[in-house]
């Protein structure tokens, strides 16, 4: 009986995993080829500099810095605000001496994350 329950749960888990990853996660965002290249470069930089240690995307990451999921469209923050921090660092954020190209790539990545954050924005409005 115990073995049967385990197997039933395990099979459900496998089916569930496949469904979770393939249903409701489609990406319908339209970006040009050049924009996608910048986004991917930005994502790589975000990981290389371990930005997630201090910042969160969709709740994943540290809390020393602000959550960045909707930083791009936030009326109090936006592109110039992000750019200023990327250029100079902040009280707690070191200056990573990013090049102009890196800054553009990181902003493109945050713009993409922001565009995908439909549920997050809906949640904030409520």
């Amino acid at each position: 009986m115990k073995i049967l329950i385990f197997l039933a749960l395990f099979v459900t888990y496998i089916i569930y995993s496949v469904v979770v990853y393939t249903r409701g996660t489609e990406n319908n965002l339209a970006f040009s080829q050049t924009e996608w290249e910048q986004i991917n470069h930005g994502k790589l930089l975000f990981q290389q500099y371990n930005c997630t240690a201090c910042h969160q995307l969709y709740g994943l990451g540290g809390y020393l810095g602000p959550e960045l999921t909707t930083a791009y469209s936030d009326v109090h923050r936006g592109e110039s605000y992000i750019k200023a921090f990327l250029k100079n660092g902040g009280i707690r954020m070191p200056n990573f001496h990013f090049s102009e190209e890196d800054i553009k790539a990181l902003i493109s990545y945050l713009k993409y994350v922001d565009a995908a954050a439909i549920t997050y924005k809906k949640d904030q409005l409520q």
Partner: protein, 473 residues
């Protein structure tokens, strides 16, 4: 080997290796706490080590080392208990040392990499794929020794054997799953990428919990001398509920991820249940423990009791942050950190410390007795400081919630939270002190010449120096 009604086996070799794992685990904890304290200080002293060892480095070092403490201490316990549970010598003694060597090499590479500024850039055990593969390989000798020594018969096996087996199996599954981002299908879609991280890592935490809770239930059985608890239908009900949580409740962290909405409903329905039942089992277990046994196992018993308190506190918090309407407020605040700290220090570390001192007492009852006062002091300092730490995290979380509601800037919210950050950083220092006392005391006991346990009780495991276990006795 069975001879004249006796199971004859040796556990001297595996015990030595298990002790090495235990000392490695305690070292992970000590260094991990040190980086935790440094990271905490960076909340109140923004310039502190900002350019040399910024939070970008202290956080992953702290997280990696503390996670390593949890699974290494659980593995140490399993290596130690395995021959007694199976009544067999360990299947592959050199495999334990191979596991040990691989883990040390891995840790050295990871720690050096973090110091040098090489990061995976993702959460928890997220490293470049080669390192991930090496972590996977390092667990293989552990899995071989576990399954080949125990040869578990799952029809009759106690619940902790099920939990340990599940923990090992799901560690392999979830570690592999966390590398799905290597495929374009996941890497090129932020929603899938984030879902992989939350799902795989959420379930991976469940796999360590299985190892830790299994260890907790095993020592409860040994302390009470009552084998029924670990074989009761209630324990198995709890186990299956825990397994369901491991598989499906990770979604309560992802209410804001734009994945399919039903995932959140499933997660919410399931996440309400697990810890309450565990608390119930501990209460039931306490009822079966005699006063004499409580006194004999006084310190491990105290750690289990502390874990019990933290289960209830964390359960209350888990319920609050899992309710979707409340999750939108608590998400992204230190309320979530309080939940994580309550679980890792309050529950897991207390259960593992019970296991550490249970083993230390078996190994050297004389030295254990001599250091009893310090263990007691360490346990109180840790838990009182943790309560302050936990409360300050909750308070700073509440300030952030209020700040967000009033459209305050992040800088202003951080300024308003300063008194609580100070409380959190200083109580963190005291947690370091309390756990540091426990760690140093463990080192001291382990370094002393071995003295056999003078108390022989009816339960076979209490005969710590025996190499013969009487199955008829």
């Amino acid at each position: 080997m069975k001879k004249n009604g006796y199971h004859i086996f040796s556990y001297a070799a595996s015990n030595k290796a298990a002790k090495a794992f235990l000392l490695l685990a305690l070292s992970y904890l000590l260094i991990g706490l040190l980086f935790g304290v440094l990271g905490g200080m960076q909340y109140i002293l923004p310039d502190f080590l900002k350019d040399r060892l910024s939070f970008q480095k202290t956080r992953p070092l702290h997280v990696y080392l503390v996670i390593s403490w949890i699974f290494t201490a659980a593995q140490a316990g399993i290596y130690y208990y395995l021959p007694v549970v199976s009544k067999r010598s360990i299947y592959w003694p050199n495999g334990i040392w191979l596991h040990f060597a691989m883990q040390c090499i891995n840790s050295l590479i990871i720690i050096t990499g973090f110091f040098a500024g090489y990061f995976g850039g993702r959460e928890y055990l997220e490293f470049p794929p080669l390192l991930g593969a090496f972590i996977f390989l390092s667990w293989i000798p552990f899995a071989i020794n576990f399954f080949a020594t125990l040869k578990p018969n799952y029809k009759t096996a106690p619940v902790y054997v099920w939990m340990w087996s599940t923990g090992i199996l799901f560690f392999f599954i979830t570690l592999s799953e966390s590398y799905l981002w290597l495929f374009d299908f996941f890497r090129n879609n932020i929603v899938r990428d984030i879902t992989v991280q939350w799902k795989a890592l959420g379930s991976m935490v469940g796999s360590w919990n299985m190892l830790v809770y299994g260890t907790g239930i095993y020592i409860m059985e040994q302390m009470s001398g009552n084998e029924k608890t670990a074989r009761s239908p209630l324990s198995f009900f709890f186990y299956f509920l825990g397994l369901t949580n491991l598989m499906f409740n990770w979604g309560h962290h992802t209410y804001i991820v734009p994945a399919a909405p039903w995932v959140k409903t499933v997660a919410y329905s399931i996440s309400m249940t697990e810890l309450l039942l565990f608390g119930y089992i501990i209460i039931q277990w306490k009822k079966t423990l005699t006063v004499a046994r409580k006194n004999y196992h006084e310190l491990p018993y105290r750690f289990l009791s502390f874990a019990d308190i933290w289960i209830f506190l964390n359960l209350a918090l888990a319920i609050i942050i899992s309710v979707p309407a409340w999750n939108s407020f608590t998400h992204g605040t230190h309320v979530t950190v309080a939940h994580a700290m309550g679980a890792t220090i309050g529950i897991n570390t207390m259960l593992l410390m019970a296991s550490v001192f249970f083993i230390m007492k078996k190994e050297n009852a004389f030295a254990f007795q001599q250091h009893k006062k310090w263990i007691s002091r360490g346990s109180y300092i840790t838990n009182i400081s943790l309560l302050l730490f936990w409360s300050s995290l909750l308070a700073s979380g509440i300030i952030k919630i209020s700040g967000i509601q009033h459209n305050e800037t992040f800088y202003y919210i951080m300024q308003k939270s300063q008194p609580y950050f100070q409380m959190f950083a200083y109580s963190g220092v005291f947690i370091f002190l309390g756990l540091g006392i426990l760690i140093v005391t463990s080192y001291k006991i382990a370094a002393r010449k071995r003295h056999p346990d003078p108390v022989i009780v009816s339960n076979p495991i209490a005969v710590s120096t025996a190499t013969i276990i009487d199955i008829n006795g």
